[in-house]
Symmetry: D2
């Protein structure tokens, strides 16, 4: 996570201010519950809420205390005591630092998920809009980077929509994975804290109680979360690479938006580089890379060790901030993508009708020509197109063996691009529930 | 995937015989649908089913043909034609190789998922049985590898149960991710094949039609699948490492089963090595490692390229076979795990009552002693235990400042291990719905 | 590692037959040394060599014994005893299984390195030959997939040569990393075996003694080895992707070899897919992925645990066999690559001279025109080329403001492609030491 | 990279101030060379050096310009022009941004390497000192976490020394990999800049000219660099885990330093957690994880794309700062490590002599007892030790069958710990060249 690839809403989640506010809320909600079950005075809980809500936590002061105590939660509690006064001794009763830290981390990840879900919604909306706009924009489909058969640009975008819709569903599941709360005390036995406190805090913070925490919330949840971000990043990469390909000089079927007054990177007007999608390709590599340390974090020793902590202090912000930035950037790219249907048609026609050769082949076969003969007929006309620059339709119409099997109308009909796009509506219905 | 770490049921899924049988079924179901909508004769579809069902596909023969055609699906179709006769020309109408290959791969992954789910069920059953067996077996909980507070061995296993139960839910979701079918022809437009064929084949093979396939089924699905296996493997590693720790010479609270007649690896009877769980640690590293190429596979170029294929030919079997083996091995380890409650108690008592120091500290505070004084009192007695080998309870009872604040009964009560395990039932209820 | 992507010379290294032969040699060389220093009779060492050399180790028989002993080295030694007779009791004196296993693994990796080095030599030779062939074949250089300035196809290949030459040097270093031998007994203290035995075996097997082995050879060596293979695989990917790009329909500057009689995958003669380089892209992902478990293997517990073993049984063959296959395939691709200089020139001229705009800009500046004015002059002529299909040279010559600053000859000179390739020899000299 | 795990010397390398200063030096050295070969006036080069050396680059001002130009190098050059005045137009002649950016990045990585090498030297010195201190400190060697045979704590540290000495050699090689310079202009052809400029800048900046740069320096160099950091991090993890194991409550053979006045994390004096080495375990996971995106960066498209840039803006600082911090922390841990020879001996004696069983077994065999009988004799006495708490030596001396084969002196001699450590000097000589 670096400022260049960060957006404030997401970085705010990871600021010390936000963290301390969440810590306070966890502690204060725990006090409410402790007061409810009679462990601490109700007035104390009220005082804690009042003074804490009124206060701004002083990050510099907390850092100062931590420099002495070498313990971040104790430093915070000390500062909180400075704010709350004598009732502060009722704070954190029977709890461990992990109760605060792990629950806070999950609150942060949950909030980050909400931003990422909103990002995905924005991306999906852009994809849908552009997909419908280009539902019938014919373009060549490519396999192996080689022209294959026609499709539409809208279908390309519909596929991206379907993919990010799956990503959305995965993120909803990943959010659920980490929306848990632990207030279970040392080694998670609830020896010093009633399970009802955990239930109360969980509900108040929008989380579920962790079934068994062993002082820490189990890290398989986080592994799944970061792995999911890695998969989403991989889908970002796929769409980014599609656009990079389409913007290649020789293809130029689409381009990242380039404002009218914008100067290119040189005197050459064609020199508009797909730098946003190249950037996204790199960011995807980073987010994917964070999945691994997250998986290695799972195997903590016994009830807990703290090896996960340094990893999470980094990948918590790094992965969410970077993916948030990437999704927003991709949305902008899609939203303003310059699409060139004429170039698409030029490229499709690059081989003067050859793209229809398979249909002609099938038609010949269906007209009773043996597969071998049909292949030979198509091939010999195709070669003239390929090697001598002839037009495929004209060559076929001039080939007696071909016209012996198929009428001119039948041959011409095989050059109808609509044949290839006739199921665009079917596909759109499947993806969008409308077409 | 190597024979040493493979089980036949899973490797069978990846055998050429199974693959060709699935290919046949996909092709034959497509014929049924094509006949239904009038594209090919019903009699042809029937013949194809009859002859195909009666035949054994000859792998060597198919390999022989492939050596010439350099194309596996064509080789298979040629062999199928040898079996079916003239009606073979109705097979594969309007389809591409990818329709067969991708749908088959997903059938294989789905079947692999079913075996893995069964593996998880077996593991969960073993964990549950042993967890209830040891619900009240007191053991020291450890944070950072250092004694913390008591818990029970059953709670440890309940946590593992909860973790693998989550893994199970993740695998159910991952199975759903890849249970899709594509019969959509070149670049996925359905130009040459009616979408109803796909719907029929999907249902017949137990799959869902892929909303938009672009000749290939999108690889974000597979990335999610293999990432999920990587997370499950990480949970395998966690439990394996727990057992390795428990079996350490100095800890020896549990051991992998060692048959009565079995010779240790040397003359030393304590030399029983946790080789199964060490092996599982390594296998987990492998399964986790396969998640990455799967994620890199997502960004195929345009409608498809074939770079995913070599990866999947490897990780398809490698990841599923290895995880299947690992889960089965882990189940065996848990099922027969030798548990030593006496050693657990010995270890817990290693510091002669020090484990209760925090409770005493809290009790002093609650009795009105200031936090600083309470800490000082506990610390000075604790140091005698630690440095001079004294008994903590006796020291406390002999400390006037302590007895001024707490009665003997109150002090003794703090040494009740039941205090720490009183919520074992709560936890079991949360995890198992019973206790 | 699967047969489809394997070559026999490399798989042979990993066969049971080879492994048992290496095990025998390690044991027999150890016997020679033990006899030399008087620990066992010389006649015994001689008998062991004679009988062992004459014998073929029976893999099935060893497997049979292992099924009982559950220990592969003991199974082998038992079988060796069947062959050698009573003198077999002098075999393996003071050694541990790891001495045999780790030394053997390093012998295998060293041999694998030698094959990979030969592969790289073959690839370098092909790259050099084709580089010189195309030293002056002008082609457009591309940044961001967008036309930039001219270069030559030979320079592209010279860069690949330089890259694989670095890979070669890295592999030489990696080979040295794992060319070590350990015969140091339990926990590596030489308590039961004289260090001179290790020295003798090391020299005989072409290895260096490991300075400190702790029963195992430290796995940082292997981590470095497999990481190096991952880097080499990444370079394979780079060149593979270059070719995939060049073979794209719209670019078509080069193609994987396609034999004259070979049928394309359809009726369309342009449908020649870069399947070999796509395949290489996938294989690179796999080899790269193996670096991670190798790095995780480093942190064995204390003097040794066996978690590395399952990983290495897989990645030992998987990584070396796959990279060997990939390098050989890439060499074939380069060797027979179809190169189309005409298409290169067509693509370069796609914008009718615009590629020279930067030179014109500089010339104007050098002729005293302000940078802003020069930019404006170039830009307005460039836009006519870009938007109206005009020829850049003609437009410039017709622009009074341009001709006011530069003579016709000066302008024409800026369109000399030789300007861009004048340092091809310099570059070739740097890379090949000749040009 | 986060402040908590950063050290100023390393973060300074990555500050904007340092970066702009390096950019200036690259540009100014290029001017010197351009003046030397007569392309620009010598006085201009001198002015540029003078004004640039005297100036402090204003980061905020450059950011301000970049906000408009969207190009960092142009922003810097604009600011430089503000400082230098009219002669600024001679700066950057014939160069591309990549010439500056890539050369600067390599300067930064080279400087980072120098700091890391110094870190490793510090760590090696600490390891050597502690190794010699404990060359003869006997401790039990463990395989699989189970007691095996005795070794010394010094040998453990000597192994770590040898491992980090290899890491040092790898880092020297990795430093050489990235110590290259490119000043080769667009697509790297030197069309607009004389190769002598590159040679001059390279020498002046302590780098080698890149043989073929294609506007960018090839990223296989960086992949190798970051992979090497990943391997070093894995060795950090190994030593960290060793210490975590040794500090376990039940083992307690060594501890991270704990200052006399320091309060434990609770009232229990044994509660000293190995938090530094746990932290190192997590940091190692991070550094290892950065190797992957670095490898994925290799396959840039054609002469260059910019996807590597976002990755490197992150992992450049992240990997070097984190590893620097980790090495320094590990050095501190080793330097001040509390070592408990008494606990080592207690643990070694945990099984009352059983650790010598293998030697007795061998002695019996050498005395003519059959292997089977010898095993039986040792085993039956060992079981008494194991199950009944007897002393192994006493049991053997009381066993008639044993004493029939071996004299009391012979038996007692087998309990000499010196037998196991007799080659400590050999090993130290191998590692340190002295003992």
């Amino acid at each position: 996570m670096i400022p260049r690839y960060s957006r404030p809403q997401m970085t705010d989640i990871w600021s010390p201010e936000t963290k301390f506010r969440i810590w306070f809320e966890i502690e204060a909600h725990a006090c409410t519950a402790l007061a409810e079950i009679g462990v601490i005075p109700k007035s104390a809980a009220e005082t804690i809420w009042e003074k804490g809500n009124a206060a701004t936590f002083d990050v510099a002061r907390i850092d100062e205390i931590e420099a002495v105590t070498k313990h971040d939660v104790i430093a915070f509690l000390t500062h909180l005591a400075e704010i709350v006064g004598p009732d502060a001794r009722f704070v954190h009763q029977g709890m461990t630092s992990s109760d605060v830290l792990d629950t806070c981390f999950n609150v942060q990840l949950t909030r980050a998920s909400d931003l990422l879900l909103a990002d995905l919604d924005g991306l999906l909306a852009a994809l849908k809009r552009r997909a419908f706009e280009h539902k019938d924009t014919i373009t060549i489909g490519r396999s192996h980077g080689i022209h294959a058969e026609p499709t539409t640009f809208g279908i390309k975008l519909a596929q991206a929509y379907a993919e990010f819709d799956r990503c959305r569903a995965r993120l909803v599941a990943a959010r659920e994975e980490i929306a848990t709360c632990a207030i279970s005390g040392a080694v998670g036995t609830f020896a010093n804290i009633d399970p009802r406190v955990e239930e109360h805090v969980a509900e108040a913070m929008g989380l579920q109680p962790e079934a068994v925490s062993t002082q820490v919330i189990p890290r398989d949840r986080h592994a799944m979360f970061f792995a999911t971000l890695g998969v989403i990043a991989s889908s970002v990469e796929r769409l980014a690479i599609e656009i990079r390909h389409l913007q290649r000089t020789e293809v130029l079927e689409a381009e990242e938006y380039f404002s009218p007054g914008q100067k290119g990177s040189s005197a050459m007007p064609h020199k508009r580089n797909p730098v946003l999608t190249e950037n996204l390709t790199g960011l995807a590599r980073m987010v994917r890379g964070y999945a691994l340390p997250a998986m290695e974090n799972v195997a903590l020793w016994h009830e807990r060790d703290i090896s996960h902590s340094s990893v999470e202090r980094m990948i918590g912000p790094d992965a969410t901030v970077t993916l948030d930035f990437a999704l927003a950037r991709l949305t902008g790219v899609i939203d303003k993508l310059l699409v060139y249907p004429d170039h698409m048609m030029d490229n499709l026609n690059k081989f003067r009708g050859l793209v229809h050769s398979q249909r002609v082949l099938l038609a010949l076969t269906q007209a009773g020509v043996s597969r071998e003969d049909a292949y030979r007929l198509v091939q010999r006309n195709a070669m003239k197109v390929w090697e001598e620059g002839k037009d495929f339709l004209e060559e076929l119409l001039a080939d007696d063996e071909v016209t012996a099997a198929l009428t001119e109308d039948q041959i011409r009909e095989k050059f109808d691009l609509g044949y290839h796009t006739k199921h665009a509506d079917t596909i759109f219905n499947r993806v969008f529930g409308e077409s």
